[in-house]
C-alpha cells in the first residue's frame, strides 16, 4: 500500500514539473519539497468528499506556504476535483489555477500566498470544531522560511491556549528559502524547543518517508489538549537530483532538456519500485 503512495508521489512530481514547464512559471523546488506530505494526507489520512467539497465533517487542509501550490493543484486534479486538462491553464490568462492557492478551485479552503496566514486561520477552524463538538481535524502545511513571520507565533500561542488537539501543523523543513539557508537568513534553531515552549507536542520526522508520515498522522493527537507540530525534514527539489538542495530552484523553471532529464529520473525511480 505504501508502495502505491510512493508511486503516487512520483506521478505528482511528474505532473507538477510538466505543469510548471507548460506555464513557464512556478515554484519548482518548494512544490517538490512538500509532495510526499501532501500525498500522504490526501490519499491516506484525511476524510473528505470530492463530490461534496464543503461536506461539514471533512478534515480541513490549508497550504500556508502557498507558493508550493503546484503539487496541491496536481493532487486535486488527480482526485477529480477538477479536470486534469485544466492544469494546462496554470498561471495563464484568466485561469482560476492562480500561482498561489485560490478558493475558486474546488478543494481549496482558503486563499493563501501571503506568508504567515495559514496557522491563525487553522486555529479558527479548529476552534469552530471544538465549539460545534465536531470531530474533524485541521492540517496546515507551513514553510520553514515562513516561520519568521510574527503571525505564526501569535497563532501558535492561541492554539495552545485553546488546547486545540485537533490542529496539526506540518513544517516543510527543507532549510532553504529564496535567498539561501534558513539558518543564515533568520535562524530557527533550536526549532523544536521553540515550538515546545509554546505548548505544542513536537514530533520530528523524515518528510519524505511516507511510512513514518503515515504513522505520525494516524496517531495524532499524541497528547490530549495539545496541538501537534510535525517538523518534517525535507529536501528542497526532492526527487530530481540536480534540483535538490539548491535555493536557486525555489522558483526556477526547467527548460526542455532539464524537464526531460527530470522525467527520466522519475521514471527510473518508478522502475526501482518494481513497476
Amino acid at each position: 500500500m505504501e508502495n502505491s503512495l510512493l508511486l503516487k508521489s512520483i506521478e505528482i512530481r511528474r505532473s507538477l514539473l510538466k505543469t510548471i514547464y507548460n506555464a513557464n512559471m512556478g515554484h519548482t523546488g518548494s512544490s517538490l519539497s512538500n509532495v510526499d506530505i501532501l500525498v500522504t494526507l490526501f490519499y491516506q489520512v484525511m476524510s473528505y468528499k470530492v463530490k461534496d467539497p464543503t461536506w461539514e465533517e471533512r478534515d480541513r487542509f490549508i497550504l500556508s506556504k502557498g507558493h508550493g501550490v503546484e503539487s496541491y493543484y496536481c493532487i486535486l486534479a488527480d482526485l477529480g476535483y477538477f479536470p486534469e486538462k485544466e492544469l494546462d491553464t496554470f498561471c495563464q490568462f484568466k485561469t482560476r489555477l492562480i500561482g498561489h492557492p485560490n478558493n475558486k478551485v474546488p478543494g481549496v479552503e482558503v486563499n493563501t500566498g501571503a506568508l504567515g496566514h495559514g496557522l491563525p486561520i487553522a486555529v479558527g477552524m479548529a476552534l469552530a470544531a471544538k465549539l460545534d463538538k465536531k470531530g474533524y481535524r485541521v492540517f496546515v502545511v507551513m514553510g520553514d522560511g515562513e516561520q519568521a513571520e510574527g503571525s505564526i507565533w501569535e497563532g501558535a500561542m492561541a492554539a495552545s491556549h485553546y488546547k486545540l488537539d485537533n490542529l496539526i501543523g506540518i513544517i516543510d523543513r527543507n532549510r532553504l528559502q529564496i535567498t539561501g539557508n534558513t539558518e543564515d537568513i533568520m535562524s530557527l534553531e533550536p526549532f523544536k524547543e521553540k515550538w515546545q515552549s509554546f505548548g505544542w507536542k513536537v514530533i520530528e520526522v523524515n518528510g519524505h518517508d511516507i511510512d513514518e508520515l503515515l504513522k505520525v498522522f494516524n496517531s495524532t493527537p499524541k497528547k490530549k489538549d495539545k496541538p501537534t507540530i510535525i517538523i518534517a525534514n525535507t529536501i528542497k527539489g526532492k526527487g530530481v537530483s540536480f534540483m535538490e538542495n539548491k535555493a536557486a530552484w525555489h522558483h526556477k523553471v526547467p527548460d526542455k532538456k532539464q524537464l526531460e532529464k527530470a522525467l527520466l529520473e522519475l521514471s527510473s525511480q518508478e522502475g526501482d519500485l518494481g513497476e
Binding site: 461539514e56 480541513r60 478558493n103 479552503e109 482558503v110 486563499n111 493563501t112 500566498g113 501571503a114 504567515g116 496566514h117 496557522l119 491563525p120 486561520i121 487553522a122 486555529v123 479558527g124 477552524m125 479548529a126 476552534l127 469552530a128 470544531a129 465549539l131 460545534d132 485541521v138 510574527g150 503571525s151 501569535e154 497563532g155 500561542m157 492561541a158 491556549h161
Partner: protein, 312 residues
C-alpha cells in the same frame, strides 16, 4: 437628548441576537472593555473569544471560524485593525470573501489625547481600496441597531467604524428605512448638498439649521455606507443642487470627500469643498475640541457652506 456610544449598541444588539443564534461570536484582542463587549462576554461566555493583543491573529482566527459557518464580529481598535491586520483583511477576508464583520472601535479622533498611534484617520482609505470590502460608519444608536441586524444577514466582509464616545441622536426614532449601501436624506434642500458620514453627521444636520436661518436650503445626506457608495444619491445631489460639501472624521486623502469627488467628477461635475483632517499628524485634544479645531463643527460647516454657495 439621549446619548449613548454606538459600540454599546452593537454589543446590546449582539447579545439579543446571540442568545437566539449561537453561531454569533465576538472576538476581542484584550479589548472587551474598550469595545463595550464585556457584557456580551458575561452573558454569553461561550461566544466570546479572547485572542489577546494580536491583531493579525484575530483576523485569521475569525476567517477560520467563518469558513466553518460561524458569524464572527471582531471588536478591536480601529487604529490597529486597519493597519496591523490589513494584509489579513485583504487576503483572509476580502480575497477569500469570508463572512467576517470587522468592527473598528474608537475610530477617528476618539483617542484624541493619545496621539497619532491611536488616531484612526486612514482606516477608511485603506479599507475602501480593498475589493469586496463593505465600509460602514453609523451615525447614532437607531442606525447602529438597524445596521447590526442587517449585518447578520449580510454575507461577506464588512468594516464598521464606530467612535469611543457617546453620540447624540440624529434620528427621532427607529422609524426609518435602513439599507446598507443606501444614503439617508436627512433634510431636503436645493442650494447645496452637505454629505457627512458617521459621527460627524450630527454637525452637518446642525449646520443645516444655521443655514436655514440665513435663507440657505441645504440637503443633508447621511452617507452611512461609503462602499458600496450610493452613487445615485450623489449624482442626483450634483444635478439638483449647485454644489457639494463633504464632512468627515478622516484624513483628507482617501475618505468620504475623495470618493464623492471621484463620483461627481466622472458623472456630473459641480464645485466641491471637503472638510476633513489635513495631511498632518493630528494634534492632541479631546475629540470635540479637535472637531472644533479641524472645522468639523456646525458653525464652521455653515460658514464653509455660505462661501461655497457664493462661488456657485
Amino acid at each position: 437628548m439621549n446619548k449613548i456610544a454606538n459600540k454599546q449598541i452593537i454589543c446590546d444588539t449582539l447579545i439579543k441576537r446571540g442568545k437566539e443564534n449561537r453561531d454569533i461570536l465576538v472576538l476581542t484582542s484584550d479589548s472587551r472593555g474598550s469595545a463595550s463587549m464585556a457584557k456580551f462576554g458575561e452573558q454569553l461566555p461561550e461566544q466570546l473569544i479572547e485572542v489577546g493583543i494580536a491583531e493579525q491573529n484575530i483576523v485569521g482566527i475569525a476567517a477560520g471560524l467563518a469558513s466553518s459557518g460561524k458569524l464572527p464580529f471582531i471588536a478591536s481598535y480601529a487604529a490597529f485593525l486597519s493597519m496591523r491586520s490589513i494584509e489579513q483583511i485583504k487576503v483572509d477576508l476580502a480575497y477569500s470573501n469570508t463572512n467576517v464583520k470587522v468592527v473598528g472601535i474608537s475610530g477617528g479622533l476618539s483617542y484624541g489625547p493619545l496621539g497619532m498611534s491611536h488616531h484612526a484617520l486612514q482606516d477608511i482609505a485603506v479599507m475602501m481600496a480593498i475589493p469586496n470590502m463593505t465600509v460602514i460608519l453609523p451615525a447614532d444608536r437607531y442606525e447602529t441597531e438597524k445596521m447590526t441586524d442587517e449585518l447578520l444577514k449580510y454575507c461577506g466582509p464588512v468594516y464598521i467604524r464606530v467612535g469611543r464616545n457617546s453620540v447624540p441622536d440624529i434620528h427621532q426614532s427607529a422609524n426609518f428605512d435602513y439599507e446598507i449601501g443606501k444614503a439617508l436624506t436627512l433634510t431636503e434642500g436645493d442650494d447645496l448638498t452637505i454629505i457627512a458620514t458617521g459621527e460627524t453627521v450630527k454637525s452637518a444636520v446642525d449646520s443645516s439649521k444655521l443655514l436655514k436661518e440665513k435663507g440657505i436650503k441645504a440637503r443633508v445626506l447621511n452617507m452611512h455606507t461609503l462602499k458600496p457608495l450610493d452613487e445615485k444619491a450623489v449624482i442626483k445631489a450634483a444635478q439638483e443642487t449647485a454644489c457639494i460639501l463633504t464632512v468627515e472624521e478622516h484624513s483628507i486623502y482617501g475618505g468620504l470627500g475623495s470618493v464623492i469627488a471621484q463620483t461627481v467628477i466622472q458623472n456630473y461635475p459641480v464645485p466641491m469643498k471637503m472638510i476633513a483632517i489635513p495631511d498632518e499628524p493630528a494634534i492632541a485634544g479631546q475629540q470635540l475640541e479637535l472637531f472644533e479645531y479641524y472645522g468639523i463643527s456646525a458653525d464652521n460647516i455653515a460658514r464653509e457652506a455660505v462661501n461655497l454657495v457664493k462661488r456657485c
